[in-house]
Amino acid sequence: MALLELRNVTRRFGSLEAVKNVSLAIEAGEFFTLLGPSGCGKTTILRMIAGFDAPDEGDILLDGQSLSGVPPEQRPLHTVFQSYALFPHMTVAGNVAFPLEMAGRPKDEIRRRVGEALELVHLVAKAESFPHEISGGEKQRVALARGLVGRPRLLLLDESLGALDAKLREQMQIELIALQRQVGIAFVFVTHAQDEALALSHRVAVMRAGRIEQCDEPDRLYTQPANRFVADFIGKVNLIDVEVLAASKVLLALRAPGLGEIAASDPRPLRAGESGTFALRPELIRIFGRKESADLKNRFEGKVKELLYLGDVTLYKVELANGFVIEALMPNAAPGRAKFHEVGDPVAVCWRHDAGLYLRE
């Protein structure tokens, strides 16, 4: 039996359907992520799980029991709020101690566990500060510590690492994972950071405008997006409108208007003539000088239009013959040579036939 289950949950605000017919099942000890653009209904779902809001339709079950009518304080879960909701009249330590006090833990245990939690989020030095005396990221860490310290069975995290720098965030991620392993907490993690979602989660649900578009394991989401939206939302992708020219059992010939023919593969039975999208990850594209390997398939010529230095990688925007701009990512594997090609350089791009994906919608 799933730890938490959402059955056809819908929530409306006036005429707006913030959550539409969402069904989910989260297992004990699972790290589950809700990923989606701003305003797609992630927080609304969390609020319903936590019990601050009730579904207009559908039901939420914990251990198979409906939660409807169970007040938030009786649900064995804690929430780390997107807006932190720190108690302004309590010190950092007081905030973190709160859930333990509520659980009636003995004084010295509370002191010990608060100390541990603050250590975890690197805030021992701020224990006696008040929320208005600490920085944004520090607030977020207090919220995190407050949510974690009680070791609930289920922890709802609403963009709870968003205000932290990469280093700290990574440490926190590691701590979260460790906690999960040790204590078996299940997480429902809301984030808009796909790298975070992909790195941490057992499963990720990608949402759009109140609906779940795809719920899957991270690498499958990346490599097998269900539709254009998911492909586009997760990671960088080149999306090319195409038409199926011919489809065999494995091989697929696509025509991109103005660009030419694209060779791909797809096990699904596709009809020639149907149109869809061809999705291609930038890191699967290779760029080279025009002169090189002119004989390859899926090879298109163009000019470097723009390049963006991203530290470990450089993003090239290459304008192809028909004006279509394709993005390619090149690792900066050679030190000191961040730029292989300069803006304006004539180049060619190319990819393997199994690099891209044909998407029907």
Partner: protein, 261 residues
């Protein structure tokens, strides 16, 4: 969401408190229709006290005076008290908080006598409308200031900063941001000042000049003999009038004052 039980008790307690506030009022209203001069026991229904009231020029004149003074004094006190309250909260002042609380803490009699002495012997002011007005403003400011301050305490400073940052002068920030946010305090402060003013006897007794009388003075002059139902009638009407005045005022108030967020 609130648990149902909690909600129930909240309502029950609140209704009980409203009842506490209104039970004596019900007596007042009821007895304004009592056909008995003694007015201690229900005798029979009559509206003659209202008729009598309608013909009582002194009483009506006093009522008009009282309303005029109450509206003017409470409006002024609300303005000054709001300034004081905001200033007290925003700047670490020493003098003003004490000054604002002093008239609240001073026994009414002392305030009345001292104001009278001050008006007559220092300012040589002829007692009358103005002296009453000033006295009422004086004792109301503290009430407004305290409540405004209670509203502001703990409010997120950053929105005031944001307003300034986006080009609002202190005045614009006050008008556009602070004022709407403390509006409930303003309304509450105004109501307190209004009722304090319209109900004040002791201080008014001292600072009222010849021939300027307010409703409480008028009522006190009658009450020594007996609380006739006419006074109940005027009290009843006064409440109705207050209700209408405030309801109308709120309808025609500028948008800022309507809490139109």
């Amino acid at each position: 969401m609130k648990s149902r039980g909690g909600q129930f008790w909240l309502w029950a307690a609140s209704l009980a408190v409203y009842a506490f506030l209104y039970v004596p009022l019900a007596v007042v209203v009821l007895f304004s229709f009592n056909d008995s001069e003694l007015n201690a026991q229900w005798v029979g229904f009559t509206t003659r006290w209202y008729a009598k009231l309608a013909a009582d020029a002194d009483m009506l004149h006093a009522t008009a005076n009282s309303l005029l003074i109450a509206v003017t004094a409470s409006a002024t006190a609300t303005v000054l008290g709001t300034l004081a309250g905001v200033a007290m909260q925003r700047y670490r002042l020493r003098l003003l908080p004490t000054l604002a609380l002093t008239p609240v803490a001073m026994p009414e009699l002392l305030l009345g006598v001292s104001l009278l002495l001050f008006f007559r012997q220092v300012l040589d002011l002829t007692l009358g409308f103005v002296s009453i007005l000033v006295a009422h403003i004086t004792f109301s400011i503290g009430f407004v200031a305290v409540i405004v301050r209670a509203r502001l305490a703990g409010m997120d400073e950053s929105i005031f900063e944001a307003a300034r940052d986006l080009g609002a002068t202190p005045w614009a920030a006050f008008r556009r941001i602070t004022l709407p946010l403390i509006l409930p305090a303003l309304i509450a402060g105004f109501l307190m000042a209004f009722t304090l003013s319209i109900d004040d006897f002791v201080i008014t007794f001292f600072v009222a000049g010849v021939g300027v009388t307010t409703l409480p003075l008028q009522i006190y002059s009658m009450i020594k003999v007996a609380v006739t139902p006419e006074i109940n009638a005027v009290s009843t009407l006064l409440m109705l009038l207050t209700l209408t005045v405030i309801a109308t005022a709120s309808r025609f108030a500028p948008d800022v004052l309507k809490g139109k967020a």
